[in-house]
Symmetry: C2
Subunit: 77 residues, 2 copies
């Protein structure tokens, strides 16, 4: 097994100084997980931060995001 | 103006050792942004990581997540 699991699916969102990468890989238990990377350029500096969302959490995670986006669209704009 | 902008909306997803917090606040330009925090407990250690998603990016961000979840549900399970 290689050190790094191969990427099964990948998409990204470029937004000004920030880019978000969505990568699906297989975890050690052979279940998929999603790694979201935020890459931010600040002058000369490149800052990355990561979230890992595992298979069993992804439905709840995307539900919470949908609820939040709905709030923003309805109330905060 | 206080040091920390008040939270306008908040929800969370608890999943085993990890909790994801979704907080909406107003940015300096008075537009809402979403802060996603992943808090992970690893033995005695608590590790946090953050993503900030601004107003203008949130539709693309949630679209990319939806696309990724669809991939996982169709192919990787």
């Amino acid at each position: 097994m290689p050190d790094f699991a191969p990427t099964l699916f990948s998409t990204k969102v470029a937004a000004g100084r920030r880019t978000y990468f969505f990568d699906v890989k297989n975890a050690k238990n052979d279940k998929p997980f999603l790694k979201i990377t935020q890459s931010e350029i600040n002058g000369e500096e490149k800052k990355k931060s990561y979230l890992n969302i595992f298979d069993s959490e992804i439905t709840d995670f995307s539900g919470a995001l949908a609820q939040t986006v709905e709030y923003i669209n309805q109330n905060a704009k």
